[in-house]
Symmetry: D2
Subunit: 143 residues, 4 copies
């Protein structure tokens, strides 16, 4: 099984079970080994008391891209720590795009950077720190 | 106007406009100067592909407590940067409680720590870094 | 061996081998299970181009207190990730004190908060994320 | 004055006043608008009780590259918050290189990523969050 097929299959398996991402309204745009892109059309119910996209929604979007990226090798992996910087507000009607890429993977520890953009504007910079745990997302036949 | 009444009024104003927090299912339990408590009953639609509460939902809960705490002086304040460590999974049926407290407030810059618990178990440790901007949440009469 | 004696012995072992901490000019003030206090008298050579204590020196002071705290159970433990917020400048002549406390310890993963103060002023807030590795600091006899 | 000349002049001004960086043994290798490279030959006195380069020294190296990068526009700028992930140990005899690049600059707020390497090995990933303050590093004539 090649790396891109494995990433696609891992994403499919995760997505099928991921009620939260569907409830948030996320769309999985692309996935590959160590990378993922997830989109969200911001709606009124995603917005907070400042009239802007709730930081938790923006974080969740980035975190979801991170999760698909760090599980793309079919090795069950969890988020241990995350850091986010909010650089511009998102608003209802905006289409936000989160692009995750692998910065480092050493043994069980990974570092993934996610940039959330609204067109040309960067809305958030996110760094996720992952750790592999036991198990796989789907059974892979030995060949 | 005393500090606790101001905090209550600021929270009321924020809450009334905050569609996202209602959509998440958050409950504002308590608020005071520099502190806030927010609860969530985790439902199936909050859960991800690992069968546990989506990190974005846990983050959003902590972030909401942080927002109420850092706006409690009726000085409009935004989250600039946040860091979260996930220490145990939340699951559907759990009642999560986020308790935010002010660690530091120097000029426009604040540091707030939020602990998210499920009964005795700590689910997440969150640190929020805030910055005051122009404006207030509600008009306060000079006396 | 009781917890406090074990912490003292672990600290002694670390300190004996720690050339960097002596070179920095750190003083180990106190150590116990999950906690440590380290002091520094800031000198001219610790200061940067803004005339204030170099952020790397302040960080190193906090990181050292973190290291003593997270190794206090005689389980070899390393810093994986750290975050620091600088809240006030330190200057030559100041005596900085870093106090580390354990916020969370679950299996191999620990969270430690360190506050660096100059008298009443908080100079930095530091959060260290540790991971236990194989080995001990000193051999402990079974009894 | 062009951007690269301004960056060089700002770095020169900072370096002349920066006793700490010289004491650490840092070498300023290159500087430009929004970027900087700083090197360190790790010596025994930089090493801690695990026999590896003290995390505070590695942090200070990254922090110094960050400082030169974020001050390169001759706008006085300070580190507000920093996060570091240690991915491999440095040892006495290693030559560490910290390369800082600007990820984001919006108004007074900047985000800088610094990678610290030892040859092909990444030793640390650092993210620095800066804020511009009043003043410049050197007087620039209007033309």
């Amino acid at each position: 099984m090649d790396a891109e097929a494995r990433a696609a299959r891992a994403a499919e398996t995760m997505w099928a079970a991921d009620e939260a991402s569907r409830w948030f309204g996320f769309e999985l745009i692309a996935v590959g080994e160590g990378r993922a892109e997830v989109a969200l059309d911001v709606a009124a119910h995603h917005c907070n008391g400042h009239g802007t996209c709730h930081g938790g929604v923006t974080f969740a979007l980035a975190d979801t891209a991170f999760a698909f990226a760090c599980n793309s090798r079919n090795q069950a992996t969890v988020a241990q720590h995350c850091m986010v910087s909010f650089t511009a507000p998102g608003r209802a009607g905006d289409r936000l795009m989160a692009v995750a890429r692998e910065v480092s993977l050493q043994g069980k520890n990974g570092i993934y950077d996610v940039t959330v953009t609204n067109g040309e504007t960067v809305v958030a910079q996110f760094r996720g720190l992952s750790r592999a745990i036991r198990g796989t997302l789907f059974e892979e036949e030995e060949t």
